[in-house]
């Protein structure tokens, strides 16, 4: 068949080869390249965010470089390696080059500690998890999975990445301005963040605000693209309830981003005006209201946490059926629970403010809505278990990470219930219990999903397979050290250990908990080391991995129909037509244990999912 369409596809393909380096790799408008760009940017930022985390952990275990009277075995080893055994001084390794007043010969002052956790969280949330889940996988997967040739607005898409990159540069620039980077926490509560003299940070905080406003513009462009593409550009037969759950999750994420970010943008604009133009939106002295910042921030912030987990849930829902060789259990319940989260997510923000002085009656209603929003998460968990039941489970690396995701997310979801209960939250608010919760949902949840997704889609993205052995080392190392790093945070949180403190030894009631801090830091170092096999695997496989086939996992969804790696325009001369839902594994209708969405079964009418 030589149709105009056919010719066009060839032209598109040829055009791809003619584009120069700049148009192919830098200012590409191809959704797959833009996705990869987001991935590389975010992995780079992850190294920075991770290094900050390790510095903080070091400080917490050995405050001010002090190993205490009875250092344990691990501490003694580290002391030998990096410290001064005679004085018991254990400065942070590899940081001597950082000049004063940021660091004092490897010793961290409290100002820098505050900047470190502020920037750590900001970077991880806005420049690692969001760019990978939404920017990278959103971009890469949406057109491929719905059977489109590209996003609706490829140029806007390119702009989205580059505007995001500018935001990243602005954020990192904050480290180099006088006064240092923002140090008011990623939540930047006013008035602390609104008056430079309260923190001593001047341009650092301004840049923080500006960077996030710019990033908001980037996300807006992304959302416009995702929503339009998913609504308007699905392949023939790709009805809403045949969409892979990953696409569902990204769709809902895009809607949440679209509606939540402008609220943050408005709040940031007011904060900047307070800092630079003499207004007092958040300053009581001028008639302002500090709690207004918290309301606006969390009105954005709670949808934001779902923005960071929904794509992870989508990814897990994709990987589990593939390797259990079984349809996802309760597809519709999975989709509707995400829709439920999207609605409920707007009425729970007050659960971050139970102790803020907000009206206690309001607190009660936020508690009830928060209890209710845990239900969709429970439904999803049970459905994942249902998917495993009766399966034929293959323990590939992506599967291990997806299973890890389920196991860890459950812990994070359950710990949320403690905090949802207002009286219990009185005690654990602002303690390490919160930090544990955050990390179980965001590291155990989002980051595990991200790793699973990278191992799963790497063959399609880069045309090569990743190494299995290194993958196993990475998974088990990460799982073990991750739990060693974060599980004890529940325990010290229950012991009353406040978050965001720089030296726990200043409090007598925390002395008995200090050994946990040492334990967690040593685990964190292990967690850091456990990422090395991943880096090696990623870089090595990028260039030298064995060539991937078109559909190495025997998966059903449309991205595996495209050749590997997909060319410009994704699919051949004609787009695939979809005949069924995405999870028809082990269907009795066919001999193989999978049935791709686009395969026409001639002897039977295509049946709905």
């Amino acid at each position: 068949m030589t149709s105009p369409a056919h010719a066009e596809a060839h032209a598109a393909h040829a055009e791809h080869h003619q584009l120069g380096f700049v148009r192919t790799y830098l200012f590409s408008t191809d959704h797959k390249m833009i996705g990869r760009q987001f991935l590389f940017m975010a992995l780079f930022m992850m190294i920075i965010g991770g290094s900050l985390a390790l510095m903080m952990r070091w400080e917490l275990a050995w405050p001010e470089g002090n190993v205490g009277p009875e250092p344990n075995a691990a501490t003694r080893v580290l002391l030998k390696l990096f410290g001064d055994a005679s004085s018991g001084d254990l400065p942070i390794p590899f940081t001597k080059w950082i000049p004063e007043p940021y660091m004092y010969a490897g010793h961290m002052p409290p100002e820098f500690y505050n900047a470190a956790f502020t920037m750590h969280a900001t970077i991880m949330i806005f420049f690692v998890v969001m760019p990978i889940l939404v920017g990278c996988f959103g971009n890469f997967l949406i057109p491929l999975m719905i059977g489109a040739r590209d996003m609706a607005f490829p140029f806007l898409n390119m702009l989205s990445f580059w505007v995001g990159a500018v935001a990243g540069v602005l954020m990192l620039a904050a480290f180099f301005v006088p006064g240092g980077a923002a140090a008011g926490g990623w939540t930047s509560y006013a008035p602390l963040s609104a008056v430079p003299t309260y923190t001593g940070v001047t341009w650092g905080q301004n840049l923080w605000c500006i960077s996030l406003i710019v990033l908001g513009a980037s996300s807006l462009m992304g959302s416009i693209n995702y929503i339009t593409t998913i609504i308007n550009m699905r392949a023939p037969g790709m009805t809403y309830f045949r969409l892979p759950l990953t696409v569902w999750s990204l769709f809902i994420t895009a809607v949440l981003l679209l509606l939540a970010l402008p609220v943050l943008t408005a709040a940031l604009a007011m904060l900047l005006l307070d800092r630079m133009a003499g207004t007092s939106f958040f300053l009581p002295a001028g008639g302002g209201e500090p709690l207004l910042w918290q309301h606006l921030f969390w009105f954005f912030g709670h949808p934001e946490v779902y923005i960071m987990i929904l794509p992870g849930m989508g990814i897990a829902s994709e990987i589990l059926p593939v390797f259990a060789r079984k349809p996802i259990f309760g597809y519709r319940a999975m989709a509707f629970s995400m829709i439920g989260i999207a609605f409920l997510g707007w009425i729970v923000w007050g659960h971050h403010m139970f102790q803020s002085g907000m009206n206690p009656t309001l607190g009660t209603s936020f508690m009830i809505s928060t209890m209710v929003i845990a239900v969709p998460s429970a439904i999803k968990t049970f459905n994942w278990l249902g998917t495993l039941w009766g399966g034929n489970i293959r323990f590939t690396i992506p599967m291990l990470f997806a299973l890890g995701f389920v196991a860890m997310f459950v812990i994070g979801g359950l710990s949320g219930i403690f905090m949802a209960s207002t009286p219990v939250d009185i005690f654990i608010h602002d303690t390490y219990f919160i930090v544990a919760h955050i990390h179980y949902v965001l590291f155990g949840g989002s980051i595990f999903a991200i790793f699973g997704a990278i191992y799963f889609w790497f063959p399609k993205m880069f045309g090569r397979m990743m190494n299995n052995f290194l993958g196993y080392v990475h998974f088990w190392g990460t799982l073990i050290f991750y739990n060693g790093t974060f599980f004890p945070m529940h325990i010290i949180g229950i012991g009353g250990h406040m978050r965001r403190i720089y030296n726990p030894m200043q409090y007598e009631f925390l002395h008995p908990l200090q050994h946990w801090n040492v334990f967690m830091t040593v685990s964190a170092l292990g967690l850091g080391l456990a990422q090395i096999p991943f880096v090696i695997n990623f870089l090595y496989s990028l260039f030298f991995g064995p060539k991937a086939e078109r559909n190495p996992w025997h998966s059903n969804t449309l991205e595996w129909v495209a050749v590997t790696p997909p060319p410009h325009g994704n699919f051949g001369p004609t787009l695939p037509t979809v005949y069924r839902g995405p999870y028809e594994y082990s269907s009795p209708g066919v001999e193989e244990d999978y049935l791709p969405q686009d395969r026409l079964l001639s002897d039977r009418p295509a049946h709905a999912h």
Partner: protein
């Protein structure tokens, strides 16, 4: 001395908080074990075997309705149980003769006592930094505010935490049940000196408290 669990509780409503904590702990603990164990069992039972074919099923409506409704009921029940305790702590303001004003500032707690006349804004008011003395087994009311940024008044052993917000006065109460000296850290990030912003609450027997008052306000 606490080692690794909830700090000792020495306030009247702390017991209610702890009971809720344990209730949630047991419920979530059981759920966690159930989920984790069934996952491991499934992973073992249904691991890949040559010739095995997975069960072809898309779900089970009855089951799914069950596991929607049961968690929902449990969670809402927890919500209402929590409400009761929350109301005791935050909505009731039991009468009290001991009232202090605590004003947080970077990086100290300014504790203002009304003095023997029991009234603020009189000559015998007295401000002592980072040192709160209260009688045991009596309701104490604390009027919290802040001079600069948000701080948070936290006494782990009382199960009491409340942000001190500039521009507002927020009143909290507690009744300590055991004499002793308890730490009073600040729990909300308030600047570079946040870590180490620390006061002490001294809970005293009636006699000791009398004596301390005599010492502070001789006359």
């Amino acid at each position: 001395m606490l080692s690794w669990w909830l700090p000792q509780n020495v306030s009247t409503y702390g017991g209610d908080v702890d009971r809720l904590f344990y209730l949630i702990f047991y419920i979530t603990g059981v759920s966690w074990v159930l989920v984790q164990v069934s996952m491991l069992v499934f992973l073992f039972l249904y691991r890949h075997r040559e010739g095995r074919r997975a069960t072809y099923t898309h779900g089970n409506t009855t089951l799914e309705i069950m596991w929607t409704i049961v968690p929902a009921l449990i969670l809402i029940m927890l919500g209402f149980m929590s409400k009761a305790t929350w109301d005791t702590i935050r909505h009731t303001h039991p009468p009290s003769t001991t009232v202090v004003q605590i004003t947080a500032k970077q990086f100290n707690w300014e504790v203002l006592y009304p003095g023997p006349d029991g009234k603020f804004d009189t000559d015998d008011d007295k401000m002592i930094e980072n040192d709160l003395h209260v009688p045991v087994n009596q309701v104490v009311r604390v009027r919290l505010s802040s001079k600069d940024v948000i701080h948070s008044f936290f006494v782990p052993q009382f199960r009491l935490k409340q942000d001190a917000v500039p521009g507002r006065v927020i009143e909290v109460w507690f009744e300590a049940t055991l004499p002793g000296v308890y730490e009073l850290p600040c729990a909300e990030l308030c600047g570079f000196g946040h870590s180490g912003m620390l006061g002490h609450v001294t809970v005293q027997t009636a006699e000791d408290y009398q004596a301390w008052n005599k010492e502070q306000w001789p006359s």
